[in-house]
């Protein structure tokens, strides 16, 4: 390599270092922005009952005397003994409801999204428009009719009813997501499967679905998350403490005049941890799955 080009490459590395510093600085600032409020929640969660002196005007959130009392309160179900068991039952409820929501939403949305992506049929455009339209209608208006409907179906106060309600809101979004994913899957592989001897359904199940796995995983994750964090419908529809989901339990720490912010924050962290774990596990799929979903129309 000639001398001039090597000096040039050296100066480029210099520029690159500067650029890399800039990028890391920007990312660190963004991380600070992302974490700051969360750190407040953590601080609150780690600060036990007596709020002594902590007026909250500190710039850096840090618990002056960290303690796990709030977590003990939350994990103990807000009381001792059998309440602790109750809390784990409620964790179970949340898990069951959220997993079932994810499953039902994906199970209903997947074939529909596939049909919309692959078939030309009367009503497909109208259907997509209607789905988009449902996203535009503020939920304020539909809560009471939904309650009446569940009542008629005898699904009030049941986890199944809650799953139905959650799935109904998750399905339109899931269809958008998955339709996008299916569009990006080359039609060739289905055709190859059909020439190989598969029926359309076999091709769908054995070839398309496995290829769409990342997108399906992400869609399921979103459905899971929406159910996992939902509070107002759960509180309205469920009438047994043993059937409550975690956000309802969490909200119980907030009263009319006073709130137990410590346990509330601790509960928020307990609720968030599984979602964070899922995000961590599924981050690759999250990116590729969302691409496929959001992208090609």
């Amino acid at each position: 390599m000639s001398a001039p080009s090597s000096t040039r490459s050296r100066s480029r590395t210099g520029a690159e270092i500067a650029e890399s510093v800039a990028v890391h600085t920007a990312l660190l600032l963004a991380v600070a922005f992302a974490l700051y409020p969360v750190l407040w929640v953590v601080t609150l969660a780690l600060t036990s009952g007596g709020l002594g002196g902590q007026a909250g005007s500190a710039i850096l959130p840090f618990p002056t005397s960290p303690s796990l009392d709030n977590f003990r309160i939350v994990l103990g179900g807000g009381g001792g003994g059998s309440r602790a068991w109750l809390f784990w039952q409620q964790v179970g409820n949340s898990l069951v409801v959220s997993l079932a929501t994810a499953f039902v939403a994906v199970a209903i949305a997947t074939p529909a999204a596939y049909a919309i992506a692959r078939f030309r049929f009367i009503g497909s455009r109208a259907g997509m428009r209607t789905l988009l339209a449902t996203q535009m209608f503020p939920a304020v208006a539909s809560a009471v009719p939904l309650y009446l409907l569940l009542d008629a179906l005898h699904l009030l106060d049941s986890r199944a009813g809650l799953v139905f309600v959650y799935a109904s809101t998750a399905v339109p979004f899931a269809i958008f997501q998955l339709r996008g994913a299916f569009v990006t899957i080359p039609i060739d592989i289905e055709e190859a499967a059909m020439v190989d001897g598969a029926t359309r359904t076999q091709a769908f199940v054995r070839v398309v679905l496995p290829a769409a796995r990342p997108a399906i995983a992400v869609t399921a994750l979103f459905a899971f998350m929406s159910a996992w964090n939902e509070f107002i419908l759960a509180a309205t529809l469920l009438s047994r403490e043993t059937a409550f989901t975690l956000p309802v339990v969490l909200q119980r720490y907030v009263g009319e005049h006073d709130a137990a912010w410590g346990p509330f924050a601790a509960g928020a962290i307990v609720v968030s941890v599984p979602v964070m774990a899922l995000f961590y596990i599924a981050q690759r799929q999250l990116i590729s799955g969302l691409t496929a979903g959001g992208v090609k129309g």
């Binding site: 080359p186 060739d188 592989i189 055709e191 190859a192 499967a193 059909m194 020439v195 190989d196 001897g197 598969a198 029926t199 359309r200 076999q202 054995r206 070839v207 496995p210 290829a211 796995r213």
Partner: protein, 405 residues
């Protein structure tokens, strides 16, 4: 109801398929693992909305024959292939494979195997699973599956790759897997949809030969779609040239090359393209001459027989390879050279015969090429037997013997 009447109607329109089919299937007894079947299509029509893609195509592939469908993009050749596979349904016409009418059958019941342009490997399955996929679906016994995979993989050199996923392989390897997936099927009919177009030139040449060798070994009835004339010429037993949704000419590759039925076929096959100039027929000293665009050449009147009339306007076609540098003989044309592409063993001179005439390409022997310079004029002759004449309005050849469909 509708369909039935349509089928009979199209069957009537083509009362008997070309008879030469019977002759080619002599080697069918050997290497019988893939069953062989004749594939016949009659009056296939297909349109997307108002856009017609296929406008009445008849095709007949005898048992064990290698048919190549060739044509420019958009001519309908891939659609036709998909109609055979069952991936598209024809609006009219019928498809028959091994004496079964499969027109309305789904792909899985047609017992055909197909190699896709994109290879269409199942991304989530290993090579072995890809090969086994179709067999499992068809309920082939595991032992038989293993045997066939072993067979195909040694045939194609896939032995080291069986455990890999498609994303971990090169283009050439994937292409071989795609072929292997077809081979293990032992199908009635093998369909290839431009299988080499995603490979680089060297690999393409190599695989081309390999495909032909596989066919000679397996003797499977094959329909191969390509837009590449080299593949078409080298692979085909029978070449079907398609244009605008119809078959323009059919025949053995060399027959088609030498006696193109139309200006389209003439220019489509052969590289560089056949030169075309507009001219008239004249009779001088008892000899028919084609004269126009700077070319004055005698023609083989036997070939054109009754078509020759004094003063008739014609398109005169001469392939670059059919020019000769005029030695002492009288020159048929004089090429004003613009550039010379020297390829070593031969050269192509590009230029004009006349200031306002079309661009002409002539092939030169290597030793002539050394002397050719831009701006120089080269005197050329043409073998009268190699002069093609076309009707300027219909584009059809005046050659009475040019193969007809």
């Amino acid at each position: 109801m509708d369909d039935v009447s349509l089928q009979t109607e199209s069957a009537l329109r083509v009362p008997s398929s070309p008879a030469h089919a019977a002759g080619t299937s002599t080697k069918s007894a050997v290497a019988a693992s893939p069953r062989q079947a004749r594939c016949v299509m009659r009056g296939i029509e297909k349109s997307y909305g108002t856009l017609p893609i296929l406008r009445g195509v008849d095709l007949d592939i005898p048992e064990g024959s290698f048919a190549v469908l060739v044509g420019p993009s958009g001519c309908g050749k891939s659609t036709l292939l998909r109609v055979v596979a069952g991936l598209e349904t024809a609006d009219r016409g019928s498809v028959e494979i091994a004496q079964r009418d499969v027109t309305r059958m789904p792909p899985r019941d047609r017992d055909v195997a197909m190699v896709f342009q994109s290879y269409a490997l199942y991304p989530h399955l290993t090579v072995r699973e890809n090969l086994a996929f179709g067999l499992k679906l068809r309920g082939v016994a595991p032992a038989e599956i293993a045997k066939r995979i072993a067979e195909a993989s040694s045939m194609l050199g896939l032995d080291g790759l069986l455990g890999r996923l498609p994303k971990d392989m090169s283009g050439g390897q994937r292409q071989r897997v795609a072929m292997g997936r077809a081979i293990v099927r032992h199908a009635n009919l093998y369909l290839f949809d431009e299988p080499l177009s995603n490979l680089d030139a060297a690999l393409r040449a190599e695989v081309r030969v390999e495909i032909r060798r596989l066919h000679d070994r397996l003797d499977a009835t094959t329909l191969y779609v390509t837009h590449d004339q080299v593949e078409a010429m080298t692979l085909a037993d029978t070449l079907w040239v398609m244009n605008g949704g119809v078959v323009e000419q059919r025949g053995a590759p060399l027959d088609v090359y030498e006696r193109p039925r139309s200006r389209f076929v003439a220019t489509f096959l052969g590289s560089p393209q056949m030169n075309l100039v507009e001219g008239v027929l004249v009779r001088r000293d008892g000899q028919w001459l084609a004269d126009g665009g700077g070319i004055v050449t005698p023609i083989d009147d036997e070939r054109f027989g009754g078509a020759l009339t004094e003063g008739r306007a014609v398109s005169i076609g001469v392939r670059p390879h059919d020019f000769e540098v005029a030695g002492t003989a009288k020159a048929a044309a004089t090429l004003r050279v613009e550039i010379v592409e020297a390829l070593g063993f031969e050269a192509f001179a590009h230029g004009w015969l006349r200031a306002s005439g079309p661009r002409i390409i002539a092939r030169l022997e290597a030793h002539h090429a050394r002397r050719a310079r831009a701006g120089e004029a080269i005197a050329l002759t043409v073998d009268p037997a190699r002069v093609h004449l076309f009707d300027p309005s219909t584009g059809l050849s005046l050659d009475a013997h040019a193969s007809r469909v």
